[in-house]
């Protein structure tokens, strides 16, 4: 302050303070300090280079663990459609309520409010909200209304909605056994949902989302654009309407018969498509996880039963195909009793005379069937049964399918062979039986039952078609004949399946009534399985239908009383739906009339019947005449044949059953609408 000796500074000062001294201004020390600071800055600069360039990768790997959350977003499960692309099962995106217990305060209050909205117990919610962790499902798949109410809560920002996909079966119980169901995690648990699980489920997407330390997702604009992936769509061969028809009919039948179980299968000839498959009792697939396993079980595939008489057309077809039974020959029914070894076979409707093959089926003669079985022998019969698809899975694609019980022929006893010929000692699944009868409807071609039609990938491209080539089992000729025999079962006044009659449609079928074996024991008990199988129209089959009524409690337990009415209903309604049958009665000779004529003669009726007038008058175009002379069985099945020609060639074969000459009603109405209002009787004789 006071005057001090000025240090060796060149600068002059006129302040009252001391001038800069040597130690400071010109000294090296400040330079050292500057250098020291520079070095420190350089060290930190190198450090930042180290962090940001050299060690960046290893540090970033740590970042990913804390900065991102990986969400496994399940693809939206594919839709299941019926053959007309009506959805049977679809997935909708719904909200699930999630809470972060760490964020929620005043848990008790929150639990009470939430409980009121979500209809849950406050205690449970409180427990969830006080749990340790940052994620807890409060309620999965809540309704829109619930979500709305929750959003209005004061603490709604502590809650979060996760979009989840929910499986919805819009048709309720319809086709429940075919569709199956999904569990709470959206995984297919039964039937088609399980069988096609990987396809329907699709690829789940692992989404990387940024998160904050509390685990909350941080959505960026591009995150919202991310479309949810979709699984592939599955198209079933089912027709929703026919399925509905079958369900209704079966429902009524079950009510009437108070049966334990009922199965109905509707199959399309010439393709093997399952149009409907009903198992009663059914369930609501929307609540699949609550359903008992016994009810979930698809009896149509997994419960083999002894078919009983419904087997006889198969036996007959097999024998005729081998040429062991001639259409003209007769087989004596041994007056209703036949001794084989120590066992006796009985007929329910003994005629005590030789029966034509048609009559064997019509009267359902066990004895004649057994005799036919003997003619074939074990090996050949077994082979034929195999060809009809018995003893092996139909590969319909649903889980839990049984192959039935068809033991190898060298283990068959003589009585066993006889039994199998009329449907005992062999167990078949309903689907096998339907497919076998469908072979007759399909002109002797065996089509594997098909439930899955195609798969459509999320882009809308058909990626897979389920098609299998049919295999020839019996000749077309034999198939026609068996068809006529089955027609007589329904059409003839003394046929066993009269109650299956469908007005206006030529339907062929066969009843079956099998005794149920005592479970776990030997022999048969009192319970029966009534069944009815057949197809319609006979000349141009559109559907093959099987109805099985298991353990009916009604007084009449025969297939003719239990299954046949339901069968008739299904056929009538389905054909109406398909446009074949308009529900009006036939305008020409009723079946009963024809059959009376045929049976009165006890021989082949066709010979005795007068030629139709129109056919007699008309000149035959030679080509058609020749062909139909050679292959008379083709006539009734020629779908696209002009009706005039059909009529001309109709009676060129003497083996043809007279009934066949009637064209189906549908065809008639299509081709000759002007004749509609003519008197029925007159027209029919016109035709004849």
């Amino acid at each position: 302050m006071s005057s001090k000796p000025t240090p060796s500074s060149t600068r002059q000062t006129n302040t009252p303070y001391p001038a800069p001294n040597a130690a400071f201004g010109s000294g090296k020390r400040i330079v050292w300090v500057m250098c020291f600071l520079c070095v420190l800055f350089a060290i930190l600069g190198y450090r930042s280079y180290q962090l940001q360039v050299k060690q960046r990768e290893s540090l970033l790997s740590l970042v990913h663990a804390t900065q991102y959350i990986y969400i496994r977003q399940q693809a939206q499960r594919g839709t299941i459609y019926d053959r007309k692309m009506a959805p049977l099962a679809l997935s909708v995106i719904v909200d699930s309520l999630v809470a972060n217990p760490r964020l929620v305060s005043k848990e008790l209050d929150a639990a009470r409010q939430l409980a009121r909205i979500l209809d849950l117990s406050p205690r449970e919610l409180y427990w969830k909200l006080t749990r340790d962790g940052s994620f807890v499902w409060l309620k999965r798949r809540i309704s829109k209304r619930e979500a709305q109410a929750v959003r209005q809560l004061p603490f709604s920002d502590k809650l979060r909605f996760e979009s989840e996909s929910q499986r919805v079966y819009p048709n309720g119980r319809l086709a429940a056994h075919l569709l199956g169901g999904v569990g709470s995690d959206g995984k297919g648990l039964g039937a088609a949902e399980l069988a096609m699980e990987p396809l329907l489920r699709g690829k789940s997407l692992s989404i990387r989302r940024m998160r904050d330390p509390q685990g909350r997702q941080l959505l960026r604009a591009k995150d919202l654009e991310l479309a949810r992936k979709r699984g592939a769509d599955l198209v079933l061969t089912i027709d929703k309407s026919i399925q509905y028809i079958a369900e209704m009919a079966m429902g009524r039948a079950m009510e009437k018969t108070r049966a334990k179980r009922g199965v109905a299968i509707v199959m399309e000839p010439n393709s093997g498509d399952i149009l409907a498959l009903v198992v009663k009792p059914d369930f609501d697939p929307n609540k699949f996880s609550e359903v008992q396993a016994a009810i979930r079980n698809n009896a149509a595939l997994s419960n083999p039963f002894e078919p009983g008489s419904t087997m006889k057309p198969i036996t007959m077809a097999a024998a005729m195909n081998m040429g062991l039974v001639k259409p003209e020959e007769r087989i004596h029914d041994e007056s209703g009793r036949m001794q084989i070894g120590r066992r006796t076979i009985r007929d329910d409707h003994p005629k005590r005379r030789p029966l034509t093959p048609l009559e064997i089926i019509k009267y359902s003669s066990n004895i004649c069937s057994a005799k036919i079985g003997f003619r074939m022998g074990k090996e050949r019969f077994h082979q034929q049964l195999k060809a009809f698809g018995f003893g092996e899975r139909s590969d319909i694609g649903l889980p839990g399918e049984s192959r039935g019980i068809l033991s190898s022929p060298h283990r068959w006893s003589q009585i066993g062979l006889a039994n199998i010929a009329f449907g005992q000692g062999i167990a078949v699944t309903p689907i096998q039986l339907t497919a076998a009868i469908n072979t007759i409807a399909s002109d002797g071609l065996y089509y594997k039952p098909r439930l899955f039609k195609q798969i459509i990938d999320p882009k809308g491209k058909v990626t897979r078609k389920f098609e299998t080539a049919p295999r020839r089992v019996i000749s077309s000729d034999v198939a026609q004949r068996i068809g006529l025999m089955m027609e007589s079962v329904i059409g003839a006044p003394d046929g066993t399946g009269k109650s299956a009659r469908v007005d206006g449609v030529r339907a062929g079928g066969k009843t079956g009534t099998a005794q149920k074996p005592i479970p776990g024991g030997r022999g048969y008990g009192k319970d029966r399985i009534g069944s009815f199988v057949g197809y319609a129209p006979v000349d141009q089959p559109r559907i093959t239908v099987l109805v099985v009524i298991d353990e009916p409690k009604s007084p009449c337990k025969y297939g003719g009383c239990t299954a046949a009415p339901a069968w008739s209903e299904i056929v009538r309604e389905s054909l109406t739906y398909l446009g074949v049958h308009t529900g009006e009665p036939l305008r020409f000779a009723p079946i009963s009339h024809v059959m009376k004529l045929a049976d009165a003669d006890k021989t082949h009726v066709a010979k005795k019947l007068p030629l139709p007038r129109s056919a007699a008058k008309r000149k035959h175009p030679t080509k058609i005449a020749l062909r139909s002379a050679k292959r008379p069985h083709l006539q009734a099945h020629r779908v696209h044949r002009p009706p005039a020609k059909a009529q001309k060639s109709r009676h060129s074969s003497d083996t043809t059953h007279p009934k066949r000459s009637r064209p189906s009603k549908a065809r008639r109405s299509r081709t000759k609408p002007k004749h509609r209002h003519k008197p029925a009787k007159r027209r029919s004789f016109d035709t004849w």
């Binding site: 400071f24 201004g25 600071l37």
Partner: protein, 414 residues
């Protein structure tokens, strides 16, 4: 004339002013970038922190102007009183009812329930000014242990003691380092400095080990990625390292930081430099660090040019304070130093610190203005001398009037 001078004082070192403005602007943008999400979430107002920061920036500018106008003579006169006042404040913070506890430390002075500031920030300024005052007064006896060294150490020790009660380890270290540097430059013999440093080591060790959390910080600093440390003390450090690494060479882009979304605690205050690293990358880090280095350089230049010892020491002390605070903060953020609470000057959302740093800039500008003025005077004097000599020489010729009259306006214009 008066107005012009005022403005000139503010810009006496334009480079210092420029780098200060740049750093402050970087700070403003980084604070907005870092806080708007959190502020939106917590207070439903994205500009909350930004607004507060801008208010303190404005206050700081007022302080800058004030100190740039305050003559160094006055500052020197009030140096002991300022020190006393700061001591008072430091004590007041510890008085229940006046100190606000934030994050385990009582650093905020609270008056009538409102947090007004951190006296520790003022302590830096006050101590630097006091030490400068002390060194200048005893400039010829600094090599004497009991004159040049001990009084300063005792004052600083008292202050550090008060700070450690808060506790504020970071500021204590900073103050001691600045003190050492000032005494080193001031000419205190090396043996005294080294000896005292050796004596201080056990003390520091004791301070570190006495508090468990502090020791944990040290251990976790040594190996931040050890699992037990990640869980415990090193979480912030690990997050900070990750944050910096995220930036890479070029950075994520301004506003693109992800770690600021809650991952990095104190992202907007002590760890804002990590966000700088993330958003601006290595380039940004280098530029910001160079800016600080440049600030220090300008400070040292001012110190070396200053015309009196007090100004020199003050300039040196303030430049060192800012520089070391930056180094300490960046060192912590980059995991080169143990974690401690220390805001980054200009950039951090630390309002007291920002105001004090701007005041420091004001003081530095004042010192430079004094230097410039004295240089100008000296120049004029020189010229007058030469002019006098010339006139004396010309007097013989009898022409001097004209020449000097013509020369003056030119000189004053330059």
């Amino acid at each position: 004339m008066q107005k012009k001078r005022w403005f000139g004082t503010l810009w006496s070192d334009p480079w210092l002013m420029l780098v200060s403005i740049v750093l402050a602007m970087v700070g403003v943008s980084m604070i907005y970038s870092t806080t708007h999400v959190g502020a939106m979430e917590k207070f439903n107002s994205p500009y909350l922190y930004l607004r507060q920061h801008l208010v303190s920036l404005a206050l700081g500018l007022v302080g800058l102007m004030f100190f740039s106008q305050l003559p160094m003579k006055t500052l020197r006169r009030f140096a002991p009183w300022m020190l006393l006042a700061v001591f008072g404040l430091l004590v007041l913070v510890l008085v229940p009812g006046f100190g606000a506890r934030v994050g385990g430390a009582i650093r905020w002075l609270k008056i009538a329930g409102i947090r007004v500031g951190q006296p520790a920030e003022l302590a830096k300024l006050a101590l630097v000014i006091f030490v400068a005052y002390s060194l200048e007064r005893k400039h010829d006896r600094v090599d004497q242990l009991f004159v040049g060294f001990l009084p300063n150490v005792v004052v600083a020790g008292l202050m550090v003691g008060l700070l450690m009660v808060q506790p504020d380890f970071g500021t204590s270290m900073l103050l001691l380092t600045v003190l050492m540097i000032m005494m080193f430059v001031g000419g205190v013999p090396k043996r005294i400095l080294v000896g005292s440093a050796l004596m201080a080591l056990p003390m520091i060790y004791l301070m570190l080990t006495r508090k468990a959390y502090r020791w944990k910080r040290i251990t976790s600093f040594l190996d931040p990625f050890a699992p037990e440390n990640i869980q415990a003390g090193a979480y912030q450090l690990v997050q900070s390292l990750k944050t910096i690494a995220m930036g890479g060479l070029w950075g994520m882009g301004i506003g693109q930081s992800r770690q600021k979304l809650g991952h990095l605690p104190e992202a907007h205050t002590d760890f804002i430099f990590a966000i700088v690293g993330e958003e601006l990358g290595l380039i940004g880090v280098f530029l910001v660090m160079l800016a600080f280095l440049f600030f220090v350089y300008r400070g040292f230049r001012i110190a070396m040019r200053a015309r009196d010892l007090f100004s020199q020491y003050v300039a040196l002390g303030l430049a060192c304070t800012v520089g070391l605070q930056c180094l300490l903060n960046v060192g912590v953020v980059m995991g080169s130093l143990p974690t401690k609470g220390m805001p980054l000057p200009f950039l951090s959302f630390a309002r007291s610190s920002l105001i004090v740093v701007l005041c420091c800039v004001g003081i530095l500008q004042r010192i430079e203005a004094d230097t410039l003025a004295s240089e100008y005077r000296a120049k004029r004097k020189r010229e007058e001398n030469t002019a006098d000599r010339e006139s004396a020489a010309r007097q013989s010729t009898g022409e001097h009037r004209n020449i000097s009259a013509g020369a003056r306006p030119v000189q004053s214009a330059s």
